[in-house]
């Protein structure tokens, strides 16, 4: 089954509009997912994000997740056997993936309302992309449109559904909720959610949310500070023009200014993290973001882009990638940090080894073999950026002069 079990599209039967969160938690796709994890299966597309990290020898999000069950990367088998969650794993294994627990850690996507059209994003997470794809007549966009007149499927606009989900969450033993958009800060439902939980007295909750950093809303920050712990994760790729080129519609200087505003609220309960999605458009300048994190003592949480495939770093010819190598080597020499795998990636005191690990990740992707279908993907990439650059009036030749031969070859 290749369908994403929790994709919030209207044609997915495993959807909060058709079942409760409790029912979904023990639905067939979730049971299948657990059994596939027991079998250590590389399950596309669901597992790809983690494998993309692990293929470069790095620690992935699933590693961060299993750390919460006291399973160590370095001593996987022993720590798994002694994990406080072991009995639950055993129950799940012996009952075809059933869980005897209730969900305590939620990820909520608040529709696709967004003010940016990032080159790696899609219509289901950006109304800007959905609108542009509608202009282009692209089928993918119409699939997620769902409701005529709306720029993409947004489950949060249905008041009954929204209230049903809120009420259920308030009764679950949930400890942590992670929000993504669209853009959370401009999505009215994000603040509605905070108001609901404040009224319900659920100050025990931990929140984290991803924002593109273009807007800063002090009212939201004040509300967030009422809760147990808050993680603010700002999406930014580099501190150079490649960030603007990648995150179409953003103003990098504004985002950096807003990060500073968030940092004014930094305390034991509120943390600020940058959250890049490393890809071939940003690998050259990604070290500038690492330097920025070093300068600000900032944590970094990121992912390697594997989808769309055309944006994978390993599509770039190796001779071009090698030109990008030295700043990462210099940074690693300067940081002189041990390669630690079992780390608390949310503890700001660990910013140095975490920055070093991201420099290693970048180097891993620079040194890796090229994709077998790299040429085909580069052709798709040039078509993709050419189309978008006409909309946003960007010039790839000016941003990536070292790509001249590729851009010429595929008719940029």
């Amino acid at each position: 089954m290749d369908q994403h079990p929790y994709e919030s599209t209207p044609d997915n039967p495993y959807n909060v509009s058709k079942m409760t969160i409790r029912e979904f938690y023990n639905s067939q796709p979730m049971k299948d997912a657990r059994m596939r994890m027991f079998a250590d299966e590389r399950w596309k597309p669901n597992c790809q994000a983690c494998w993309a990290f692990e293929d470069y020898g790095r620690v992935s999000r699933r590693h961060h997740a299993i750390q919460k069950s006291v399973i160590f990367n370095k001593n996987f088998q022993d720590s798994f056997e002694q994990s406080p969650g072991y009995k639950h794993f055993e129950h799940s294994y012996e009952n075809q993936g059933d869980s005897d627990k209730l969900p305590i850690d939620l990820h909520i996507d608040l529709g696709n309302y967004c003010n940016l059209a990032c080159k790696h994003c899609w219509s289901g997470a950006s109304s800007k992309i959905a609108a542009q794809q509608k202009v282009w007549g692209i089928e993918d966009s119409t699939r997620v449109m769902g409701d005529p007149g709306k720029l993409g499927w947004d489950w949060t606009v249905d008041d009954d559904l929204w209230n049903k989900v809120l009420t259920e969450i308030s009764k679950l033993p949930v400890n942590n909720i992670h929000f993504m958009g669209g853009e959370t800060v401009i999505q009215k439902r994000f603040e509605d959610f905070l108001d609901f939980m404040i009224d319900a007295g659920r100050f025990d909750l931990n929140f984290s949310f991803v924002s593109n950093g273009t807007k800063f809303n002090p009212r939201i920050v004040e509300k967030l500070k009422k809760f147990q712990r808050v993680g603010i994760e700002v999406s930014i790729e580099t501190t150079t023009e490649t960030n603007r080129y990648m995150r179409q519609g953003t103003v990098t200087e504004e985002v950096l200014k807003n990060i500073d505003l968030y940092l004014e609220h930094l305390d034991e309960r509120l943390d600020v993290t940058v959250r890049p999605a490393l890809n071939l458009l940003t690998i050259r300048d990604f070290h500038t973001l690492l330097r920025y994190c070093l300068d600000k003592n900032l944590l970094i949480k990121g992912q390697m882009i594997y989808k769309p495939r055309m944006l994978m770093v390993t599509n770039l010819p190796k001779d071009i990638r090698q030109q990008y190598r030295q700043p990462y080597v210099d940074l690693l020499d300067e940081l002189d940090q041990e390669d630690l795998h079992d780390l608390n990636y949310s503890d700001r005191h660990n910013y140095l080894p975490i920055i070093a690990n991201f420099a290693r990740l970048a180097l891993g992707s620079i040194d890796a073999d090229s994709n077998q279908d790299a040429e085909e993907q580069l052709e798709k990439l040039v078509d993709h950026i050419k189309r978008w650059d006409e909309v946003y009036k960007y010039d790839a030749r000016a941003v990536y002069p070292e790509w001249k031969e590729i851009l010429d070859r595929y008719g940029y």
Partner: protein, 158 residues
């Protein structure tokens, strides 16, 4: 390893929590080799510490129990104190289930048997054992959960 196989193995270990503790001790001496006793749970080893060495002990404690890791400095005489020549033991490193962290050593305390001419200051935060007495670190079982907390690895699902 596939988790399926881990589940099969795990059944054997659910109650018996295999725990391996390695203690690295260094003699700091201008005279003889210091004498010491190293205890991990129910196993004790006596040794003359003539060189820096690892003491390796594996135990099988029960889940939810605690295990004391104790290094006892023994036999330093009044004459040896008065000679002012160094005769001490340093607990340099503790490795639990292959994981080492300086925080482990600093989580222990030294309970000296103060000589009669010294003021009794109670237990002290040091891993330098200049007096007779015992350095003690108590860990909870499973040791991985203890390590997770000491290393500040974050939220634990319970």
């Amino acid at each position: 390893m596939m988790l399926e196989r881990c589940i099969q193995n795990g059944r054997k270990y659910w109650i018996d929590m295999d725990t391996r503790v390695k203690v690295r001790l260094k003699p700091l001496t201008e005279t003889r080799a210091p004498r010491c006793e190293v205890t991990v749970g129910y196993i004790t080893k006596m040794l003359e510490l003539d060189q820096e060495q690892w003491i390796d002990i594996q135990i099988h404690p029960d889940r939810n129990s605690t295990v004391d890791i104790v290094v006892k400095h023994l036999g330093k005489t009044e004459e040896e104190f008065k000679s002012r020549e160094e005769l001490a033991i340093s607990v340099e490193e503790i490795k639990i289930n292959g994981i080492s962290d300086t925080k482990f050593v600093w989580a222990g305390k030294f309970h000296p048997e103060y000589p009669r001419w010294e003021e009794d200051k109670g237990p002290i935060d040091t891993h330098y054992l200049g007096f007779n007495g015992e350095w003690r670190l108590t860990i909870s079982i499973p040791a991985y959960t203890w390590i997770h907390k000491i290393q500040g690895l974050g939220w634990i699902y319970d």
